[in-house]
């Protein structure tokens, strides 16, 4: 095991010949990044926290008035905002569980010796590489009741995927599942191929059934990496904007990010939207924290 974290500079290297020390090279790499983070991430973050306590509107010249916790109070008392949160929660659960089932299932199927495995895996990864906006536009056409391929293929007639208030959110989630299951599949494949073969051999000698093998060997060993996939996908699903914005304008599918966008850039309620962004940030942080705690527990086993 290495005891030092920093590799010392080779004395004969060109950098050393130019008189650069370890510390100056380290600074050269780190300082720009830190500056970048401060200017573009940390500073706006703190600045917007200040705005969230004011009635500031970026579209007018009126000075910002300090209103205390008014914005937070109003938002947390707004039934529309609560319904946006409920919709987002439903969307996150449906879409992440769906991706997990499909992605892990496909990974199980692919985790064996089949011809053209590499090619199939690559092709399956394609949806993930498209832009969200493009996927949204394509699926809008696919879902179209008059000329969409989906209704034609499934023989659903004029079923209105996106115009039906009850169905719209699931239609968006379905598109998200299509797009991001490959991501879960990729991570699962990595996890599955890392499971030592001798464990399966031992299980076979002990005449363990397929279910027993799956639940006692495969799943526990892949779980940490699956948890990482879940964390990523939950955070992403929570932030979903483009896909839902393009596909439907149903109020029953108005995710929290869409509401935030409307508040900030259509209505120009800058102060209030900053407060809203903070509420969302705190929620995402809380959820991620729970996951990370759980992930650590899984790893300890």
């Amino acid at each position: 095991m290495a005891t030092t974290m920093i590799t010392t500079l080779d004395r004969s290297s060109r950098a050393a010949a130019r008189g650069l020390s370890d510390i100056s090279i380290r600074n050269l790499f780190i300082i720009p990044t830190v500056l970048f983070l401060i200017v573009f991430n940390i500073f706006p973050l703190i600045y917007s926290l200040g705005y969230s306590f004011t009635d500031f509107r970026a579209s007018t010249n009126a000075p910002a008035n300090f209103v205390g916790l008014q914005n937070y109070r109003d938002l947390l008392n707004d039934p529309y905002v609560w319904s946006n949160f409920a919709i987002t929660a439903k969307y996150v659960i449906v879409s992440v569980v769906g991706q997990l089932l499909v992605g892990f299932g496909v990974a199980m199927l692919l985790n064996r010796d089949i011809p053209l495995k590499g090619l199939i895996t690559t092709l399956l990864l394609l949806p993930m590489m498209l832009s969200m906006a493009v996927v949204g536009l394509f699926w809008k056409l696919l879902y179209d009741p008059s000329w969409g391929v989906i209704n034609y293929a499934l023989g659903l007639g004029n079923f209105e995927w996106l115009a039906d208030p009850k169905m719209a959110l699931y239609a968006v989630a379905l598109t998200d599942i299509w797009m991001w299951s490959p991501f879960v599949m990729l991570l699962s494949l990595a996890g599955l191929s890392a499971v030592p073969k001798h464990l399966y051999e031992a299980a076979a000698i002990d005449r363990a059934g397929p279910f027993y093998t799956f639940f006692r060997i495969t799943l526990p060993l892949v779980a940490p990496i699956l948890m990482i996939a879940v964390i990523f996908r939950t955070m992403e699903a929570f932030k979903t904007f483009d896909l839902a914005y393009i596909l439907t304008s149903q109020p029953t599918a108005e995710l929290i990010s869409i509401r935030l966008y409307k508040m900030a850039f259509q209505e120009w309620q800058t102060g209030r939207s900053c407060a809203m962004a903070y509420i969302v940030l705190i929620m995402v942080l809380a959820i991620t924290n729970i996951y990370v705690k759980y992930l650590n527990k899984v790893k300890e086993r």
Binding site: T60, N61, N158, L162, W268
Partner: protein, 438 residues
């Protein structure tokens, strides 16, 4: 290494030198507008201006969906990327009180534009606050919501006969909202993949509001009192309730999946043989008489928004005025362009290129009215239009309208009265928040 650095520096220097010399030689103006055909016509008009004066006009565009966002992001940052903007009528409040637009009152009075341009366009595209005598824009593109219809379906003798038998009067261009509804019902035949009517339902910006306003104003209803900001008793009056019910009734006869439709979908309804009648802004009609974009071009007719049950006839206003941006460094140059733009012969050219002029003289001329199948309907409409609120917080009011009306229209929850009562409450609270009502 040193060679590389030297050549790079030389390259940067050269680029800078070229860049500055271009600025020094040429005068230019940048106009910001949304991405649609009229913007291309304006670019052509700008090319004429360049030929006459040597000042280069560039019309920069962005899709409608982020036009408002992009324009205001630039304004809020006090950017000088654009010298002029062709802004939506609802922006006047935010543009003027926010200090983004240059006050054009003197210019307006000097050229007597109040009488040169059609009165409605002056009132809604230029003046803010209402009746204040302060002007912030020059009416540029007149627009309102009108209707297109399938002449061949309407004129089919068999259809005419069947219609007469069912409804007791002749099938013709609808004379009122009741006829509009009857015709929509008559042509609604889902088994033949033919539907009655295409209306606006998109709730992401102002589409839904424009569609509803067409019914509301013709039914004699009002959004509220534009001077006192009183909304209770206006937006939830019996007339307004009847208008909302009438608009919801039309939704029954739309093609399937018609829950997020705006100008693109409504023109598709005609080009793809989906609907007998379709609501749209006049600005989108040129593509309907073009055979390249509409296979049914020869069979497409147009009519103005019909009157309601009491004979009131109005339409929702679209359209834009052109404003000088106060952060522009070329305001003098911009004013010169506006002086050229309001000349009669420029307005004639503008109309000939496909722009919807607001100049009374041109609008009233027979050559304008006979130039296209829809110009006459446009002329008639432009003298009876009404618009949405133009206060700086209009976007909040719009969002509240969408939030209340959409679930009722599309989802069928609640009643029209409940919906509009709730909307009156929302609007009143918003006006209270901004100190417009006690």
């Amino acid at each position: 290494m040193r060679k590389l650095v030297t050549s790079m520096l030389a390259g940067i220097g050269l680029t800078l030198a070229c860049g500055t010399s271009v600025y020094a030689q040429e005068k230019s103006l940048t106009i910001f507008w949304a991405e649609w055909d009229p913007a291309n016509y304006l670019q052509e008009l700008g090319n004429e201006y360049e030929k006459e004066t040597g000042v280069k006009i560039t019309v920069e565009t962005t899709p409608w969906s982020d036009f408002q966002t992009k324009a205001f992001t630039e304004f809020n940052a006090h950017g000088d990327a654009y010298d002029l903007v062709v802004g939506d009528s609802q922006w006047l409040g935010a543009g003027s009180t926010g200090g983004h637009y240059v006050d054009l009152t003197d210019f307006f009075k000097k050229h007597d534009l109040g009488n040169v341009m059609a009165p409605a366009t002056v009132k809604y595209y230029a003046e803010y606050p209402g009746n204040s005598g302060k002007y912030w824009a020059i009416p540029l593109e007149g627009d309102a919501v009108g209707w297109s219809y399938r002449k061949d379906w309407f004129e089919d003798p068999k259809e005419k006969e069947a219609f007469k038998a069912k409804y007791g009067y002749d099938l013709d261009v609808p004379k009122d909202f009741k006829a509009l509804r009857d015709i929509a019902e008559f042509f609604h035949r889902p088994d033949q993949k033919r539907y009655g009517i295409a209306i606006y339902t998109d709730n992401s910006y102002d589409a839904m509001a424009m569609g509803f306003e067409n019914a509301l104003f013709s039914y004699g209803g009002e959004l509220g009192d534009y001077t006192t900001y009183k909304v209770d008793g206006h937006i939830n009056s019996d007339k307004a309730v009847a208008a909302l019910d009438a608009y919801k009734e039309l939704y029954k006869f739309t093609p399937p999946g018609w829950a997020k439709s705006f100008f693109v979908e409504d023109n598709q309804a005609i080009t793809e043989n989906l609907a007998a009648m379709s609501m749209n802004f006049f600005a989108f009609f040129p593509s309907l008489i073009n055979e390249a974009s509409n296979p049914n071009a020869k069979n497409t007719g147009f009519f103005a928004n019909p009157p309601g049950p009491n004979g009131d006839q109005f339409a929702a206003l679209g359209g834009q005025g052109i404003s000088v941006i106060s952060y522009s460094k070329k305001q003098d140059e911009a004013m010169k362009f506006l002086e050229w733009f309001i000349k009669d012969e420029t307005q004639k050219k503008w109309a000939a290129l496909g722009g919807y002029t607001c100049s009374q003289a041109v609008l009233k001329s027979p050559e304008f009215q006979n130039a296209t199948p829809y110009n006459k309907a446009f002329y008639e409409t432009m003298f009876k239009v009404k618009d949405f609120w133009a206060v700086p917080e209009y976007a909040e009011l719009l969002q509240q309208l969408n939030q209340r009306i959409y679930p009722y229209m599309i989802g069928g929850s609640g009643t029209a009265k409940e919906t509009l009562d709730a909307l009156a409450g929302d609007w009143n609270a918003t006006f209270k928040k901004y100190g417009r009502v006690q």
